[in-house]
Amino acid sequence: MKYILGNQESVMPKPLLELICPAGSLPALKAAVDHGADGVYLGLKDNTNARNFSGLNFDAKALAEGVRYAHAKNCKVLMALNTYPQPTTLKRWQQAVDTAATAGLDAIILADPGLMAYAMKTHPQLRLHLSVQGSATNYEAINFYHEHFGIQRAVVPRVLSLPQVENVVQHTHVEIELFGFGGLCVMVEGRCLLSSYACGDSPNTFGACSPGHAVRWQQTPKGMETRLNGVLIDRYADHEKAGYPTLCKGRFEVQGETYYALEEPTSLNTLEMLPEMHRIGIAAIKIEGRQRSPAYVAQVTQVWRAAIDAVKRNPAAFKPQAAWLAQLDKVSEGSMHTLGAYYRPWK
């Protein structure tokens, strides 16, 4: 199942609620494919993508096997190239685009317009998606990327309410992909400098928020302490759940009170909004978590496959099953899940 490009795109029906799952390794990719993903997204073993963690991601051999395995089971493979190239190492990003084209990827997910121009010129047949890191939150921006770089799908930042997303969908031919499940941060996607402020490396250039070299966990008599570049950002009592070691989820002393001053560790879960997403024509649902294990990918993909199939069969009767919610809560960061900005009756 290949996308059709060029003039034919207008006659092709847009996809509806494709399930796009994360893969940080070949076993994770196979877990996603085996449990019913319509597409998997992955990255190379360097800072050309925003999950640049030690030991994670794909080399050429794993990529070739991953593409072969997924395509044999009719599953698309997308490559995240969603960091911002730096002047002295621009070649690395361009080579990554070449690698994607040569390896037969179904699309690449980009944030940088310079790289989009390179991809469009060098590999005109390669399908381009706009990464969430591109931070396009309105249809004018999305249409701009479509007109100038041929972007065919946009992953929308997690800051819009669902009615605002619907407004975007109604004013663009570009397919819209939404995050459905997984870790949440402060959602200043592509523009967040908190990690850079704390440890010198930001997701946008280094490819990781709170990279391992800057993180220290230590059990102390007062509780488990998390330090980022030596700075204490949280301390968990024995009964408390832990979150990722990011500055936005730290507890800070503000005017004599210590609390989650920016946000509490929590996960996005939009399962109950699936009928609405189906109605407004969301092309794809993205599951966060390329840094997670194959076990997570298997469990989450299985639940979302069942839920999407159910909503497609009968949207009006759709109701998230308790077992699905329990399974998703189990693997969630923080002790709760949220609908994020999607549900915001007050606007």
Partner: protein
Amino acid sequence: MIAFPSSLAALISRLPAYPPSLTFATAFNLTVWKSLQDLEWEALQDRRFCVAVRDTGIKLWFSMATSGLKAETAGQADVTFTATLLDFTRLALRLEDPDTLFFNRRLLIEGDTDLGLRVKNMLDGVEFETLLESFPSVLGRLVNQVRKQGMA
């Protein structure tokens, strides 16, 4: 949940760490090392690891050598993993997600976090079937059966 007697754990924690470390390293090298030796171990050479099995009092100390794991005496480790025997077993059988255990305070990684993440991610990158093939066939079948029961 399987509970390990705490009095026995207290006793075990006082015993020398080298014999269990040697037993573990030898068993590891005789079985799964075969399917892991082609991984990029260079970055891990001579780094010292400690696996602390919280509920049993057992601590395993080892380092990475070119021929596999090398048992070490108790001392400083570059990175220490702490969890219960059941959770370590479930992790090894790929039934549990490490981040989920971390969120729930059932897995602790102390010391060089980057080294810890590298080990976790490298092992996650190996397919379970590949690991199984390095076991003698009877043992491999048994491990697979235990895993399938854990999935149910």
